[in-house]
């Protein structure tokens, strides 16, 4: 089962992962604000994830860990 986890407090809400995701299943949280004051990225539908790791590849802050 493909799984992505986000180290939320490292996220700067830059959105590069969202733009990179081929499944369009990432978004910036609307309600949550992390320690740095950003809206962290999160996954909307873990089931649709194919563990391509495009998100983690484009993340400048090593926020994302991808497992299969």
């Amino acid at each position: 089962m493909a799984k992505v986890t986000f180290e939320k407090d490292l996220c700067k809400g830059c959105g590069l992962c969202i733009a990179a995701c081929p499944k369009g299943i990432l978004e910036l949280s609307r309600e949550e604000i992390n320690q740095k004051g950003h809206h962290p990225a999160q996954i909307t539908d873990q089931e649709k994830c194919i563990a391509c790791a495009f998100c983690a590849t484009m993340c400048p802050d090593c926020v994302i860990t991808v497992e299969k």
Binding site: K12, A20, P60, T65, E67
Partner: protein, 250 residues
């Protein structure tokens, strides 16, 4: 099974770079190369002056801070002190292509067995967005507020092409990090640049076409697009010299 995780050669210090700044990606690629070649224990990095001035806090290996432009000279000193160490520099366009041009050219001319990571984002980030030697014609920056006028301040410098003309240069490749495909190519190039040093081959430099969303005045995603539409046409990607492959072919 883990498919992707943070490399061990990066410390836990949160990166101070702007949101969407590609320095973070490039740091990770360098760390991945160090992990994959298992050389962290004998690597010494040379941090330069620019946005990446705190690089000494981010890599899990011995590090020395160099004066602006002088990292290749400091790296030369470290490498000559102990040729068994793997020595790399991490430099921006001001550091490498403006104040440090002589050090860059001569380290290459001498064929120093070091690895240089050159981050080219066509601007001076740390000091607030001034024109760089790599800024494009017409590019608006703090010190070219009407756009870079080639009639008064000349043309950008293409470092890979310049260094390729030197006999001492071993391996120079220009890559970019504006898409997953390009990041993966960049990863391979950076790893090759480190492997060349491990194999004692000579001078490698990887020029990474990068973004500066803050000083370009763009969102991180738009900045990646500008790399594709404007920077890569001026700075074409590819291998500009591979002396080691040429020699192996003979």
């Amino acid at each position: 099974m883990i498919v992707f995780e943070k490399p061990r050669a990066l410390t836990d210090a949160p990166l101070h770079y702007c949101p969407g700044c590609t320095h973070g990606i490039i740091h990770r690629l360098v760390a991945e190369a160090i992990d994959s070649l298992d050389i962290a224990g004998r690597t010494i990095g040379v941090a330069s002056v620019g946005c990446s001035v705190f690089a000494y806090n981010y890599f899990n290996c011995d590090m020395v801070q160099a004066a602006h432009g002088r990292a290749p000279a400091v790296a030369t000193g470290v490498k000559r002190a102990d040729p068994g160490k793997i020595v790399f520099t991490y430099q921006g366009d001001g550091d490498l292509a403006s104040i440090g041009t002589a050090e860059t050219v001569h380290a290459a001319a001498r064929g120093e067995n070091i690895t240089i990571i050159f981050v080219n984002n066509a601007i001076y980030g740390m000091t607030g967005g001034q024109m760089a030697p790599t800024s494009l014609p017409g590019q608006v920056t703090q010190t070219s507020p009407y756009g870079r006028d080639v009639n008064t301040v000349g043309y950008p410098v293409r470092i890979c092409e310049l260094l390729a003309t030197l006999d001492g240069t071993g391996y120079v490749e220009r890559v970019a990090v504006n898409s997953v495909k390009n990041v993966r190519s960049a990863k391979r190039a950076i790893e090759k640049a480190f492997r060349n040093q491990v194999e004692g081959k000579g001078f490698s430099l990887i020029e990474v076409v990068s973004t500066c969303p803050t000083n370009w005045g763009k969102t991180p995603q738009d900045a990646l697009k500008w790399v594709e539409t404007d920077m890569i046409p001026y700075y074409p990607l590819g291998v500009y010299k591979d002396k080691f492959a040429e020699e192996a072919a003979k």
